[in-house]
């Protein structure tokens, strides 16, 4: 029983760590703000769920587990909202979520799409 829990939490935490890393790389490497936001916010939720659930399995039934749950709930509430706020501010400032805009130099070729 103990061992099963340990292995399970180990798997959860490692996958979570992997997701954190992927999100970080995505936030650095993707071409424009909206795609970067996609990478970052995806891991905000997924990685938090995995890592915190993994820690919860280690903590067992205690006050710490309740606190971890609270942290998870608040992260799940605030993370997407913060992403919304940033996307909204970026959109208001006139940045277009343009798929063709892959890199700064290529972006100049299709300047104004007909839409």
């Amino acid at each position: 029983m103990e061992l099963t829990l340990d292995i399970l939490s180990w798997i959860l935490m490692t996958t979570g760590g992997l997701f954190v890393l992927i999100g970080g790389i995505g936030a650095l490497r993707l071409p424009n703000i909206y795609t970067r936001m996609h990478a970052a916010s995806l891991t905000d939720t997924m990685a938090s769920i995995l890592v915190l659930t993994g820690i919860m399995l280690q903590a067992g039934f205690s006050l710490a587990t309740i606190k971890l749950m609270a942290i998870l709930v608040f992260l799940l509430l605030t993370g997407p909202t913060a992403s919304y706020a940033i996307a909204n501010a970026a959109l208001l400032s006139g940045m277009r979520p343009d798929a063709a805009e892959t890199s700064p130099d290529k972006a100049k070729t299709p300047t104004e799409p007909s839409a």
Binding site: F74, L77, T78, T81, Y84, A85
Partner: protein, 327 residues
């Protein structure tokens, strides 16, 4: 041992962040980097076994500092004008200073050295006597509240004075009339449904958590300074969501000023009560028949005073900046 390596990594990116803050010409970017700087400081404090300090840095750096700096930026300029000349002399001065200081650090005891002079003097006495004399587990709160209560009283009055100063400097020039005209302007984030719903949900939890930090400060990391900042952040969130005027309707300026004065007064009165009951100023052991219980009562009262003053001051400062903005 690996934790030391974590610390080294965090400190390295701390230096990178500091350089980036100084180099960037966009002041808004500098403020954003400052919030990252604060997060790094808190993580470093935590790794260095200072949970209470890390909690304070978290409560202050995450919300209040950013909000106040953004308020000031909205009132001034968003870009810095490039200074091209006269950079060499400061750079030389600073390099020499850094060299001298790094050279001097070799005389300091290593990180974590148990024989360092700082661990020999009064600290072991605090650690040994706190369970016996005060009866609470958090030694930091004990030192803050009773052993160095006089010092903390001074700090509370500095916060009080800073708040009064900000109000004096920013309220000059008929602020109240203009802020009334601007009522229609300060709509807050009413048009953003998602932040509004989530934020409304969060405000009570933030205030509740603040109260938990306030009253749990004897048993875990926390206390008046952190709790005041957390509750102030919760109310600032309310102000951001519902607009300035609604927040002022919930907590008018008079009430905030009353909190600032009342908290500091409560602290002082606890001290005076100690004198009246036959002890020294800020000697809590006379407050109850059992000295240990008296100490605990005193700590709870003065922590409440600290929390009220800090919360009131930070909110007054926030409203002072926001009212300027509206005018």
């Amino acid at each position: 041992m690996i934790v030391v390596v974590f610390g080294v990594f965090l400190l390295t990116i701390l230096v990178v962040t500091a350089v980036a803050i100084v180099r960037t010409e966009n002041l808004f970017v500098a403020v954003m980097l400052m919030s990252i700087f604060s997060l790094l400081m808190a993580a470093n404090f935590f790794i260095l076994d200072a949970a209470d300090v890390a909690l304070t840095e978290a409560a202050i750096g995450a919300g209040i500092t950013t909000v106040i700096f953004l308020g000031a930026l909205a009132l001034t300029a968003r870009r810095e004008e490039a200074v091209s000349s006269g950079r060499m002399v400061p750079l030389a001065v600073v390099t020499v200073l850094a060299m001298v200081m790094i050279w001097a650090t070799f005389d300091k005891p290593r990180l974590g050295d148990p024989d360092a002079p700082v661990h020999q003097h009064v600290a072991p006495w605090y650690l040994e006597k706190t369970p016996e004399l005060i009866g609470i587990p958090n030694v930091v709160t004990a030192v803050l509240g009773t052993f160095r209560g006089y010092d903390t009283l001074g700090e509370v009055f500095v916060v009080f004075a800073a708040c009064i100063g900000v109000l004096f400097v920013l309220s000059a020039g008929g602020l109240r009339d203009r802020s009334k005209e601007a009522d229609a302007e300060s709509i807050g984030l009413k048009h953003h449904l998602i932040p509004k719903v989530v934020g409304r949900l969060l405000v009570p939890f933030i205030v509740l958590f603040g109260l938990y930090v306030q009253f749990h400060g004897e048993y875990g990391p926390g206390g008046g300074f952190q709790a005041g900042a957390i509750i102030a952040t919760g109310i600032i969130l309310y102000a951001l969501l519902e607009g300035e005027t609604n927040a002022l309707r919930a907590l008018p300026r008079r009430v905030l000023l009353g909190m600032v004065v009342g908290g500091a007064l409560l602290y002082t009165l606890v001290g005076v009560a100690g004198m009246l009951l036959g002890g020294n100023f800020l000697d809590y052991s006379v407050l109850a028949s059992d000295p240990v219980v008296g100490q605990q009562v005193g700590i709870i009262l003065i922590e409440a005073g600290v929390g009220i003053t800090v919360c009131g001051s930070l909110l007054s400062i926030f409203h002072a900046f926001a009212a300027r903005e509206a005018s």
